[in-house]
């Protein structure tokens, strides 16, 4: 089935985007990335020297996985724009996952700083993928501002709480003209499948895999779940009914 994900004009056959945070070792991360089948993986630019050898970037390069730098750890639009520019220079990519958090306890995204940074980065020629709350109005505004995708959360980063407001995710999907990527909150495979069934174009996750007891096996589960959820979305689910309907009717 030819069903590519297209972001900013670039095609991906995998709809699972990975993060690298929380992996116990580079080898475990490498195995998990391979098992996930991902073609796009996000890397935090703080605390990383792109020039040094043997880093997580080398793991991605060796596997031919596209690097999506992110601005994790930034609290202001100013920091995020600066981090994105440094990443563009160091990694020679104009893609950025924009992440501006509002506080350290929840790591929830700050909508105002995020919008501010998104406008500036779009004007500067970046392909911007902003991480946002599950807010349909903000998602629409960011699309209008020229973002290449929107990335609403299912639940706070690393919480593994799944998709807390599926209705809002559906509303975002309904209105969006750019890809919707469910980012953050995935705890297990059924969460990822649900995101795709709700109509998301892709899922981004890290902790659910890197902190699992067997990261490679969980990565495999996520890969299958994203595929299953996507297929179910395309196939079209049956309407929910209150009462039974015989699956083998007595007369055809």
């Amino acid at each position: 089935m030819d069903d590519d994900l297209i972001i900013g004009g670039e095609k991906f056959s995998s709809r699972l985007i990975m993060g690298t945070g929380g992996a116990p070792s580079l080898e475990v991360l490498d195995q998990a990335l391979v098992a996930s089948g991902t073609e796009l993986t996000t890397v935090a630019m703080r605390r990383l020297d792109p020039a040094s050898r043997g880093s997580v970037l080398d793991v991605l390069r060796a596997r031919g996985i596209k690097v999506l730098p992110n601005t994790a750890g930034c609290f202001t639009a100013g920091e995020a724009v600066l981090t994105a520019r440094l990443a563009r220079e160091a990694l020679e990519t104009n893609w950025v996952k924009l992440e501006v958090i509002s506080d350290e306890r929840t790591l929830l995204p700050d909508p105002i700083e995020t919008f501010d940074a998104a406008e500036r980065l779009v004007a500067d020629g970046f392909v911007v993928l902003p991480y946002i709350g599950d807010d349909p109005a903000l998602a629409r505004r960011l699309e209008q501002a020229g973002c290449a995708a929107v990335m609403p959360l299912g639940a706070p980063i690393g919480s593994g709480l799944g998709i807390r407001n599926p209705h809002n995710i559906e509303l975002i999907v309904e209105a969006a003209g750019v890809p919707v990527i469910l980012d953050a909150g995935i705890g297990t495979a059924s969460d990822a499948a649900l995101a795709m069934e709700l109509g998301c174009d892709a899922v981004l996750l890290a902790t659910a895999v890197t902190r699992a007891q067997r990261p490679d096996l969980m990565a495999e589960a996520m890969r299958a779940a994203v595929r299953a959820g996507r297929a179910a979305r395309l196939a079209g689910r049956i309407p929910r009914r209150r009462y039974a309907e015989a699956s083998s009717p007595t007369h055809p």
């Binding site: 070792s25 605390r47 020297d49 040094s52 043997g54 306890r105 067997r214």
Partner: protein, 440 residues
Amino acid sequence: MHHPAVSAISHEVMAAPASSYDVLLVGGGLVGLATAWRAARRGLRVAVVDPAPASAAAASHAAAGMLAPISEVTYTEEPLLRLGLASLERWPAFAAELAADSGHDLDYRTDGTLEVAFGSDDLAALDELAGFMEKLGLPVERLTGRECRRLEPMLAPAVRGGLLAPGDAWVDPRRVTRALLAALERRGVTMVPARAAGLERSGEAVVGVRLAPAGEAPGGGTPSGTTGGGTPSGTPSGDASDGISPGGTTDGGSPGEAPSGRVLFAERVILAAGAWSGAARWLPPEVLPPVRPVKGQIMRLRSPEPVLRHCVRGMVHGSYVYLVPRGDGELVLGATQEELGFDTRVTAGGLWELLRDARELVPGVTELEVADVVAGLRPGTPDNLPLIGPTVLPGLSLATGHHRGGVLLTPITTALLMNEAGDDEGLAALCSPLRFQEQR
């Protein structure tokens, strides 16, 4: 630190025309010095090549010295646990013999690690960890918040619960390296204050090490003047590799090129250059280990009376911090983990994170005097396991890649290198540098 005797010995050796040893260590950090000491104890002729042995650039200078394989166990790392337990078992004898050989006190302590949790999320994570430890058969004891505070009254009232790993221990790594230097001097080990610049080969076999000529070494050949690690200024500049110096390695020249320096011959050459091992470009590519520097910042605080009796490790809102008490009232807070190449700058953010989390655990820490802040470079490997043992080149072994566990893993490292480990658990295979060979 002053080592007049060491420089006296070195001077004598530098004057000699040629030298031959049984074992030659490249790198005078904790692992290199300890290996030299164990070899010398067996009556072997040993030399250590390092422009500044046991300098402030060595990872052990910035290490807390936790010997805590039990409380630090994580998913996917059971092999590292086995190695750590095997080394922990060797520490009491190692410490006793080193203390006897050097006449130094190592501040070796065996009161266990207390791991504590705050908030229900951290407690749930600790419960899961306890389940994992029990499954592995590790001796840990579950404690309530009040039991934790009975053991350590300075802990914050908000502590919800904890785990005591009574088998864990700790030691002062700076005392250990000082003791090793003293023991090496007593055992007549030759300290060669120079950099390695190439391998001396006889066919396939490695028969010695070519030294960089004095004065041509990066940094002007007086590295003892540099402090703080990788580069003289500690900046992560693009040409960081030019300043790569500690650990007795230099990136100048490649094997086979005009031998300009003196050669030290040895039956066995062991590379123990820590975080710089992977940047030793004078090594043939087939034996260059996949080692990268992983930066860690720590802070040393001082109090008139010891604040804690146990090593305390805590998860605070998802991130780990540890507090290690020394006998003299010093308290070590650590440590960050940063992938920034050879950068060894101490940063405001790094120290703030340490203090923020440590104060949650022990509110009193902010009353203490700051004695020292330092950043070191751990030698990280792709699988977090060290590289110990023979390479594909006869005569050349590695002892590097110890990452966060260099102090803990020192006794098992020397035992594996000296074939004293037995091979009850396949530890030699686990650490073999050959495991990365097929990936080249």
